[in-house]
């Protein structure tokens, strides 16, 4: 298997899908001539032309609305947001339009559109550029929400997203773009609604998605080496649909769980996971489920403060030890 970056995996998915289906096109700020702010769309303008790789003005509502409108009559737009923090400007388009059109028109108009781009922080970009708002989107019926953590999942899930007939919020963590991983040769897709066990273990289940999956894997490695604690690491990959079966199955084995994400803790996505665990596997638990998340503060600039605001490997290790205590 080839080892490539997360960014290259996304680009491969886009390229392959654009070749496969002439209805797929990309639009967003700086996706064409500039080759993409995070270089995901590098070379695509040259390859597919300006009708299919569309540079837009700084108009988040316009981008989202244009993508939705084109999708309504059969194209398959992939709209890039420079970051999901800016997607807030397009919230009306995502929530009131993309998510509702199928339902309020009685199932007659589909909106096969992908909204993708970086989410999360970690490069001292401070409060307005570091949001993880996946719980906001997952809260909205009608949107699918996915956040792959590895290049292989990124490629397979972006292809799935493009072929999906529903609006998909596709969140890429900014810190993941340069990470590397093995990506299968040839055509493949990764389905939504199927969590992936990224590491097997017997003592504690760590549930994560997006970049914190890597933190959880490092934490699990350390715990195994230093304490002999074997953590099972589950990568949810897809938040809506959400695969609780894999989670519950694991908890029936380990009887202990920690949920780790970069979203804020207060009303964050972890709260939903914990609620469902207590609803469906209360009797299996030997300890309360703990959450590791971002501090409930706007993300600060100073390096030390930012580090303290985001969840870390050490936070996960501490939480695992607490549920075992």
């Amino acid at each position: 298997m080839a080892v490539i970056t997360y960014r290259e995996a996304l680009r491969q998915a886009l390229t392959e899908e654009m070749e496969r289906d002439p209805g797929v096109f990309i639009l967003g700020e700086e996706v064409g001539r500039y080759q993409g702010t995070f270089r995901v769309t590098e070379g695509l303008l040259q390859r597919f032309g300006e009708m299919r790789v569309v540079d837009t003005p700084i108009s988040e509502s316009g981008i989202a609305g244009m993508a939705i409108g084109a999708a309504m009559i059969g194209l398959r737009p992939v709209a890039e947001f420079m970051t999901f923090s800016f997607a807030l400007i397009a919230a009306d388009q995502l929530v009131n339009h993309a998510a509702k059109i199928l339902y309020m028109f009685g199932g007659q108009i589909t909106v096969p559109v992908v909204f993708r781009g970086p989410a999360g922080g970690g490069a001292q970009l401070s409060a307005q550029h570091s949001h993880s708002l996946e719980s906001w989107y997952a809260h909205i019926p009608g949107l699918k929400v996915v956040a792959p953590a590895t290049p292989a999942d990124a490629k397979g899930m972006l292809k799935t997203a493009i072929r999906d007939n529903n609006p998909v919020i596709f969140m890429e963590h900014a810190k993941l773009y340069s990470t590397r991983g093995e990506v299968p040769e040839g055509e493949y897709t990764v389905p939504f609604g199927v969590a992936d066990i990224k590491r097997e273990g017997r003592d504690v289940t760590i549930i994560a998605y997006s970049q914190p999956v890597l933190l959880a894997l490092h934490a699990a490695q350390k715990l195994a080496e230093t304490e002999g604690i074997e953590c099972e690491v589950i990568d949810l990959r897809s938040l809506q649909p959400l695969d609780m079966d894999t989670v519950l199955h694991s908890i029936r084995k380990t009887h202990r769980a920690v949920v780790a994400h970069e979203d804020h803790r207060n009303v964050g996505f972890g709260a939903e996971v914990v609620a469902r665990i207590q609803e469906f596997a209360f009797d299996e638990l030997d300890a309360p489920v703990l959450r590791v998340a971002s501090a409930d503060v706007p993300i600060p600039y100073a390096r030390n403060l930012e580090r303290a605001a985001f969840p870390s490997e050490e936070d996960i290790i501490r939480a695992v030890k607490r549920v075992l205590a």
């Binding site: 309504m72 388009q93 028109f105 009685g106 007939n165 529903n166 609604g193």
Partner: protein, 343 residues
């Protein structure tokens, strides 16, 4: 802003007397349909918001008359007139208003979200200006496929103060999409007069800055709307580029059903309403038909009675239609995924 009482003696070039009669009858249907809405609403047969189009009939009728079968349109929540002008079955529209399963959206959209995909009517939308960016996407998809279809997008004067509308106008001009932006300036956004809300009184003037042709036209005279719309739509179909048209019109009734006469007295005078009622597009078209010998008094009466019957039939049909089954609650959230009942 004055609307002159039209005194016209000639038909616009392409308009035959027969076609004019058809359009007149469309306006009659819209009027009677909506006049049946108020009593039905008072009897509790409808819920939600109910925004009627009475007074503005010439706008939707005159523009939609030039749509080809494969063209598209989107509009706001004030959408009964547009759907009827497009030829959507009045019974299924009324059923939608009644929240019935036979409605155009299975009763899941209601008054503000009429739709008729077969006729390229991509929906009425409840967020002021929210669908204007969608129209740009529809226009973009048309260009992408290289056909000569057009998309009409109807919205009110109030929508001109919504940010995304300006993003959309700018992008429409950048990508040269075949969209006609029809701004129905009925002078009020709820109780807010256009002069108060718009720093520049002419909305066409405001739109001019986006590098597309713009025009302000009268909206009370069907012949005028028809003639202007024909030219504008032909231009957009053949050029192609977007076009912004401000149509001066007026709603005779309140903003919505809750906007009763006491409320209306807070923002407009009886004299003003009367002034515009004198310019009723239906009355004026009837007069034109008579004066030119295109219709007789008895034909006018007959058509009026027919339109009223259609409206009453729509009510009866809606009344007799079943409510959506409860399983419908969980359908259409996703195309391919079950949503779990949680109780």
């Amino acid at each position: 802003m004055k609307a002159e009482v039209p005194v016209k003696k000639t038909l616009p070039g392409s308009l035959t007397p027969q076609r004019l009669v058809e359009l007149y009858r469309t306006m009659l249907l819209i009027r009677h349909f909506e006049e049946q809405c108020a009593p039905a609403y008072r009897q509790g047969k409808m819920g939600g918001y109910m925004h009627v189009y009475i007074g503005q009939e010439a706008v939707a009728t005159g523009f939609i008359a030039h749509m080809r079968d494969d063209d598209y349109m989107l509009c706001s929540y004030r959408d009964h007139g547009h759907a009827l002008a497009r030829g959507t079955d009045p019974r299924r529209i009324m059923a939608e208003l009644f929240g019935r399963y036979t409605g155009v959206a299975k009763g899941k959209g209601g008054s503000m979200h009429l739709v008729d995909v077969e006729r390229g009517f991509l929906g009425g939308y409840g967020i002021v200006g929210g669908m204007v960016p969608l129209a740009v996407g529809v226009g973009y998809a048309i260009r992408y496929r290289g056909t000569d279809q057009v998309c009409l997008c109807f919205f009110g004067d109030g929508a001109m103060n919504i940010g995304p509308v300006h993003e959309a106008l700018n992008m429409a001009a950048i990508y040269k999409v075949p969209v006609v932006f029809v701004c129905e300036n009925n002078r009020y956004a709820m109780a807010t007069p256009v002069e108060f809300a718009s720093a520049v009184p002419s909305l066409a003037e405001r739109a001019k800055q986006y590098g597309m042709p713009t025009k302000q036209i009268g909206g009370m005279d069907l012949l005028e709307v028809y003639r202007e719309a024909e030219e504008i739509i032909r231009h957009v179909r053949t050029t192609p580029e977007p076009f912004f048209v401000e149509v001066l019109t007026y709603r005779f009734e309140g903003h919505g059903i809750a906007d009763n006469p006491t409320n209306q007295a807070l923002y407009r005078t009886k004299e003003e309403v009367e002034y515009w009622r004198q310019r009723d597009p239906i009355v004026n078209t009837a007069r034109f038909l008579l004066e030119n010998g295109f219709a007789t008094e008895s034909e006018l009466l007959e058509w009026d009675a027919y339109a009223k019957r259609q409206a009453l039939e729509a009510v009866a049909y809606a009344d007799a239609s079943p409510e959506p089954p409860l399983e419908e609650l969980y359908r259409d959230v996703y195309t391919d995924m079950e949503v779990q009942e949680w109780r």
